[in-house]
Each structure stands twice: as C-alpha cells, then as structure tokens.
C-alpha cells in the first residue's frame, strides 16, 4: 500500500437480524391472504375510512379500529413507476433484474392505496386509472409476497 492510499474500514458482510412483530391487525391480514387469498382492510368507527393494510389506529381520528372488511381483489392504479436502474434487493443482497413495475393500487372498497409490483409485460397499458387484479403465489407463506404482482385487466 502506498503512503497516499486512503485507508477505508469496511463493514464486511455485516448483518443486523431483526424479528419484526406484525401486530394483530397484520396477522389477520397476512393469514387471510395466505389461507383464503382475501384482502382484509379495517374501517374507522368514526370517519368510516377503510384502511389497507389494516392497522390499529386511525391517524386522522386518533381512535382504535377493529372492524375488518374485505376489499378487492380487483382495483385501480393510483400511481405507478417502472424501475429501470439496477437495484440491490435488500432481502437477498443481489441486484434485481430490471425493469419492473411498482404501483399504488386502490383496491375496490378501500380508501387508501396498497403498494405492490405491477406486471409490465405491456408497458403501454400501465397507466393511472388502469384496472388490475392480483396474481397470487402458488406457495403462500403469510408474507406480502404471497401476492406475486398485480396485472392489468383492461
């Protein structure tokens, strides 16, 4: 090493394993997705807004929510993007193949938008307002990836 070379200390393959609790609302959502391929949202008792993914508190009203309602499975693209740059998959540490689509989807009956992949086989059909339906994974494990993606049905 020459005298002018900078010394850099690398973290190496450092890992910080975590076990994230999904909460009771999250458990219900993921179980229904896995076992029945259903989307369960939660409704605010005060403002009647239907939230997906379901969570305990309506932030706008500051009240607890426990009334589950089924939404979807079809929906409408609220906004989207097509990712074209090489992105390292945080789950695997390797680069994901690009391009692929992301969208915010308003599932029928829900008031908030749900994020997931959008199938981009025909890019010209991917637009705000397009109708979509979910494609479920064959083997479902109780994670958000039990949905493979949403595909355009217009």
């Amino acid at each position: 090493m020459s005298d002018t070379e900078h010394v850099i200390i690398e973290s190496g393959a450092a890992r910080q394993p975590f076990n994230y609790a999904v909460g009771l609302h999250g458990s219900r959502f993921l179980q229904e997705l896995r076992d029945h391929r259903r989307f369960m949202a939660v409704k605010c008792p005060r403002c009647a807004k239907v939230y997906i993914p379901p969570r305990r508190v309506c932030g706008a009203c500051f009240v607890e929510m426990d009334e589950f309602v089924e939404v979807g499975p079809q929906g409408t693209i609220g906004t989207f993007t097509i990712l074209r740059y090489a992105f390292i998959d945080p789950e695997t540490g390797v680069q994901k193949p690009v391009p692929y689509g992301y969208g915010f989807i308003r599932l029928d009956g829900a008031d908030t938008l749900f994020q997931h992949y959008i199938d981009i086989q025909d890019e010209s059909r991917v637009k705000i307002g397009a109708r979509v339906e979910p494609v479920f994974a064959d083997e479902r494990k109780g994670t958000v990836k039990d949905i493979r993606c949403f595909r355009i049905i217009d």
Binding site: G78, F80, I82, Q115
Partner: protein, 381 residues
C-alpha cells in the same frame, strides 16, 4: 416574531466523496466556519443540538459521536434525528424557552459511505413495503407521476428545473454539480425510474452545515447583522404513503401557512423575495412551490418556463443550485437556511438576488415529504 436571529452559518463543500473526512472532521470544519462567521468562540455557545441519522451513519447514537467536534463538552447537548431544519427548530425552541442565549446547530451526513437505496429502503414499513424493495427513488417516482397527472406538468418542465439549478450552481463554489446543460440533455439522460431521468434526481453527497441562533439580547455580540427568524413551523402527514394524496403536500401547506402567519405574510408569492426549497428531485421544487402558496396551483411549471424562478426573476428559487447540485441528506435543509441567510446578507456573489429582505427555506423529513419544516427569515427586524 423577532425574538431570535441567525448570527452565524458555516458549511463544508458538498462533495461526492469526502474520503479524507470522517463525520467529526466535517463537523469540525463547519462549526469553525460558523463561529468565524459569527465572530464568536465556542465559549459564546450556551448549548448544542446535533442532527444526524443512525442508518446513514452506520452506527447507533450517531449524534453523540460528533459532540466533541461540535464543542459540546461540558454543555447541554441534545440530538435530532432527521433533517437539519428540525434540529434548528429544536435549537430555536431552546432559545425561546429563555434558558439559553445561543444555540449551535449542526447537521451532517455522508452518502458516500453506504448504499443509498438500502438505507432509504430501511425507512419503509418492514412488513408491507420493505420486502418488495421500495426505496426513496422509486417512491418519489410514483409521487412524480401522481403530481404530473394532476397538475399536467410536463417532463420538459421538470427538466427545466434541473437546467436552472445546475446552472445556478456555477455561482456556488461549494456545490457538487455545477453544470451548463439543456432541457434536451436532461431528457436524454438515463431513465432511472419513470418519469425520473438521471438528471431529475439529486446526487449522493457528503457534507455538513452548522448554524448559530441567538436570542434577541445576544445578537449584538455577533460580527454581522442578524438575520431574524420571523416564522418557523413544521407539520407531518400520514406515515403510510398509500394513506396520502401523493400528488399534494398537505403537511407543507399547513406548515407554510403557519410560518407565514407568524411572519405577518399574507401573500407569499409577492412578499417573499428568495426561496431555497428541498429539490431532491426536479418535480419536488414545483410541487413544493405550489403547496407553499409561493405560486398558484398547477402554475409552477409555466412560471418556471417564464423565468420567474431564475436568479434575476421575481422569485429566485434555489439560486444556490439546490439539492440537485449536491444533496447531503440531514444537512440538506440546514444548508437551505444558510443559503437564504447568505442571500439576505448580500453574500451570494453571482447567485445574488436583487435586494431581498424576506426569504423562505424548507426542509423535509420522511418519505415523499411526510413532514416539512418551513422558515421565514428576514434581514429586517
């Protein structure tokens, strides 16, 4: 409000990779520049607020690791995790409490030391969003599409923001990416994430900013005329991106209204003379302008094309070159404030707006502008 003023600012150059500097080295440089600017020594500083983010710094309690370089030894030092404007807000409240006459605020980060997309991915919900690989760029690209769809803003108008800001940076010796480019070159740059081209996105950067805020009865000891804090406010929106109307920035509208009310400003579009906004992406400058009432809804793109936001326009925006020309996160908003201070003092050189007396700076924390901090500053008390 004229109970407190900014009396000193200092910042490092913004660079792609400050390989010679650790975090504390950058802080040391910026703090000494701010003290020199204020004509003060560390003994004149009553308390310290450091601003940093543990994920970006790759360690926990990152804020305390820069406390010696911030001159915090044997002083009351506290920390803010977020944008520097929020650190400054905390610093201001400590002055307004009456317990301290001066606050030194620092904010630093080094994007060069990590993989930015992994850091921003970690800001997302680990159950629903992180697993599908969302990061800041992909989330903001979706916000850009939502904003453009609603406001009918064009890709050419977005590109014009990049042309303006990189062009402005040529007058800023601390900017990372001064460039003379054309709208065509922006549109021809690599498509990163529709609709954002590479030149619609701010770069990964290293940098630090420091600022000294003083109570009214302490500004007289400073070397330069004070820049008065006329209004300061922040406001947060929902955490889940899907809960918000991403095409609008409701929290920014609220924060700006409160800050302008405090300052007695009733028509921001005509009463503000210079603005430094959080342009992490081209579309954000236009969206934030509209949300703050600095121009009418759906009009930012047109006014930009008419030259209104140029250095010699009626409302120069990001005359410093903005974040598109260098984006050290965390420090970014504090740098916006420091640039407004430089403008109001008449120190901005080739980027100087004509005789501004009122300026506004904005900082953002959270994904797609979850929370905003707005500062109204004035050379006149």
């Amino acid at each position: 409000m004229d109970s407190a003023a900014i009396v000193g600012v200092g910042m490092t150059a913004i660079e792609k990779n400050k390989i010679r500097d650790g975090f504390a080295d950058m802080v040391w440089e910026a703090v000494n520049l701010a003290l020199d600017d204020a004509g003060m020594t560390i003994d004149d500083i009553d308390n310290v607020v450091t601003t940093s983010n543990d994920f970006w710094d790759g360690r926990t309690i990152s804020c305390m690791a820069v406390s010696d370089a911030s001159g915090a030894r044997e002083k009351n030092v506290s920390c803010v995790e977020g944008d520097g404007t929020f650190g400054a807000f905390y610093g201001l409240t400590r002055i307004l409490s009456g317990s301290y006459g001066t606050t030194l605020v620092t904010a630093h980060s080094k994007g060069s030391e990590s993989v930015s997309s992994l850091i921003t991915n970690a800001a997302f919900d680990p159950i629903y969003q992180r697993a599908i690989g969302m990061d800041m760029v992909s989330a903001c690209a979706m916000q850009a599409n939502a904003y453009m769809h609603r406001s009918r803003t064009t890709p050419e108008q977005l590109a014009r923001v990049s042309v303006k800001n990189h062009g402005n940076a040529r007058h800023n010796p601390k900017a990372q990416l001064p460039m003379a480019i054309t709208v065509e070159e922006v549109l021809a740059s690599e498509m990163i994430c529709d609709p954002l081209h590479k030149l619609d996105c701010s770069p990964v950067s290293d940098g630090c900013c420091a600022m000294i805020i003083a109570a009214k009865d302490r500004v007289g000891t400073a070397a330069k005329p004070p820049v008065w804090i006329k209004g300061a406010a922040f406001c947060a929106d929902a955490f889940h991106l899907g809960d918000r109307d991403l095409s609008r920035a409701a929290a920014l509208t609220r924060a700006a209204k409160k800050a302008f009310d405090m300052a007695g400003i009733t028509d921001p579009a005509t009463q503000v003379h210079v603005a430094e906004l959080y342009d992490a992406f081209t579309y954000q400058e236009l969206m934030w302008l509209e949300a703050m009432g600095l121009c009418a809804d759906n009009q930012a793109g047109h006014l930009l094309e008419a030259g209104v936001f140029d250095i010699d326009g009626t409302l120069p925006v990001n005359a410093s070159g903005g974040l598109l020309s260098g984006h050290p996160v965390i420090a970014a908003g504090l740098i916006r404030m420091a640039e407004v201070v430089r403008q109001l003092r008449g120190e901005a050189g080739g980027a100087q707006a004509k005789d501004p007396t009122v300026g506004v700076a904005q900082g953002v924390n959270g994904l797609c502008g979850q929370s905003h901090c707005v500062w109204v500053l004035s050379a006149e008390s």
